[in-house]
Amino acid sequence: MPELTYIQAISDGLRQEMRRDQRVFLMGEDVGVYGGAFKVSLGFQEEFGPWRVIDTPLSETAIVGGATGAALMGMRPVAEMQFADFISCAWDHLVTVAAKQFFRGRTPVPIVVRLPSGGGFSGGPFHSQNPESSFAHIPGLKIVCPATPHDAKGLLASAIEDPNPVLYFEHKHLYRRIKGEVPEERYTVPFGQANVHREGEDAVVVTWGAMVHTATDAADELAKEGTEVEVLDLRTLIPWDREKVLESVRRTSKVLVLHEDTRTGGFGGEIAATIAEEAFEDLDAPVMRVAAPDTPVPFSPPLEKAFIPQAEDVLQALEELVAY
């Protein structure tokens, strides 16, 4: 099996879907000639032509609203936001139109919005955000956050296949940092199935996206002291795999919920609250959360480092948790 970077897996996966299904097309700013800000669609316009790889004006509302309309006409649009941060400009269209259309009118809206998200390279307050929690609160949307090249490709195929609006958060800091084996043939990774990224019995970290790797680094470090921590990668937030999370909690009795986004009102609260409600009797320690502090994402390296949860932060929290 070939080793691909996370971004190659996305690119290959998208190309495969577009080859497979004429209805799939890509639209966004600079996705054509330029190949997208991160070059995910490099060469696509040559292969698929300018009407399946559409360079749009700088118009997030028209992009997402337009994708919705095209989907209603039977297409399978994939819309690219140049950075996930800019999805704020299309918030209304996702929340008001796409999320509620099927409930109201029984017409599915099979769109995928690709969202290069996350920090770690001094992108500052507007090029580093992880806005998945805000959307995870909106019934009607599905939220996907792959952590590995394998999942990036398989979840993208599932997202395109899914008859609902799917927000596909691709973490920029994983783009070229993470490599892994990715089958060449098409496959799907189903939504709502968490993945045990690292095994362990002494505690579990529930997380997703880039933090899967941060958690693993911390767990590997802790393993040197003989403590084995499971890292459970949710893969998708909506739907999220309550069963597997609760099973892990019941098994390990100690849980840390970790995310890169800010703490208050983040999706970690939902997970922690669910655990507290459903596995109360099985807990040997309070459900801990590690997340970014409640500030915009700062630009300057020492500030950004303090903002984004680091392996040391997770390690420290795990030590506390295990010692509880």
């Binding site: 028209a62 095209a70 259309q101």
Partner: protein
């Protein structure tokens, strides 16, 4: 002025050239009567406490809605708004479904999930509006984009009010449609008020259609009380779009003849304005035209009126028989399953 102000329609000859025979004309007339009838009855139902929530009508807009709706081709699509009941009727929605919608019954197109005119039947090429105005314009643009990508000779119609034209959605949709020369017609229901807001507080130019120039396409203003002129202009715009000529902004000038919704007595609209526009009531106007140009007789007119009445009576009955939705099914309806995609209109 950049926009074209359309002439009123005169003779039957002219109308025939536009492709309408007498039956078509009577069909349009009937659609206008049903449209108004539904809304009048809805009003009564509302006062009787049979319609929950709020209630909106399009009184004064019947010609604009029916005129544009009639000009659409069978495979064209659109996203009509709260003043555009006539579009639903023209496209063939059975009136009982609308009463059922009003009353929150299972038989309404949204099965009680949404209320009032927030509904449409996709199998007839119409897609339901959201409250947030004019959010359906970018959606309509996307529909047109799909046709362009697939090289289909279909046209999308996106409706918007002159008030909602102030929102960014209108701009992004029109700009993108202009850049890509998409097969779309933007239909502005300019009824001169946005809730209590007069046009001069909504936009600083004479016509909303003046904006078309900023997007590189044509703007047309038509008297929205003249169903035949609306039809002619809509047809032109639609066929132009179908043939690759790009978008048109068609502004239908009317007056909103009632308050914004039932709770609003429209105290802020000058009385003379109502009087002036009442004198050109679209239905009365079309009726005289039919008498003068298409030999509509009293008997025929009465017969149409009673057939409309019968239709509405039985529609009401049928709607009333439709059950209220069962809460047990609420949560299951949020996400679509793959098989929900297997519909003819969603190809």
């Amino acid at each position: 002025m950049a926009v074209r102000e359309a002439e009123p329609v005169g003779s039957l000859q002219e109308v025939k050239e536009a492709g309408l025979d007498r039956e078509d004309l009577l069909g349009m007339y009937r659609a206008m009567l049903i449209t108004r009838g539904i809304e009048e009855r809805g009003h009564i139902l509302y006062k009787q406490g049979k319609i929950p929530g709020s209630f909106y009508t399009g009184r004064g807009n019947e010609a604009a809605a029916v005129g544009v709706g009639s000009a659409m081709g069978p495979n064209d699509v659109g996203t009509p708004l709260h003043r555009d009941m006539g579009v639903h009727i023209t496209r063939g929605v059975d009136p009982w479904r609308i009463f059922a919608q009003y009353m929150g019954r299972e038989g309404g197109p949204t099965r009680g999930r949404d209320g009032n005119v927030h509904m449409a039947m996709p199998e007839l090429g119409l897609h339901p509006m959201v409250s947030h105005l004019p959010a359906m314009l970018p959606v309509a643009t996307g529909m047109a984009l799909a046709f362009k990508i697939r090289n289909e000779k279909r046209v999308a119609l996106g409706w918007f009010g002159e008030g909602a034209a102030a929102r960014g959605d209108a701009h992004e949709a029109m700009n993108m449609a202009g850049v890509r020369q998409l097969p779309i017609v933007f239909v502005c229901d300019n009824n001169q008020w946005a809730y209590s807001t007069p046009t001069y507080l909504s936009f600083p130019v004479e016509h909303i259609a003046d904006r078309a120039a900023a997007y590189g396409f044509d703007g047309v203003v038509v008297d929205g009380t003249d169903v035949l002129a609306v039809y002619r202009e809509a047809k032109r715009a639609i066929e132009k779009a179908r043939e690759g000529g790009g978008p048109t902004l068609l502004e239908c000038l009317t007056l909103r003849m009632e308050g914004h919704a039932v709770h609003d007595d429209a105290f802020y609209v000058p009385k003379e304005m109502f009087e002036q526009w009442a004198a050109q009531d679209p239905i009365e106007r079309f009726r005289s035209w039919l008498r003068d140009h298409a030999e509509l007789t009293d008997e025929e007119d009465d017969e149409i009126a009673s057939s409309v009445k019968r239709t509405l009576n039985s529609a009401l009955e049928q709607a009333d028989e439709s059950p209220l939705p069962d809460p047990a099914g609420l949560e299951a309806g949020v996400y679509a399953a793959p098989e929900d995609l297997d519909t003819p209109h969603h190809k």
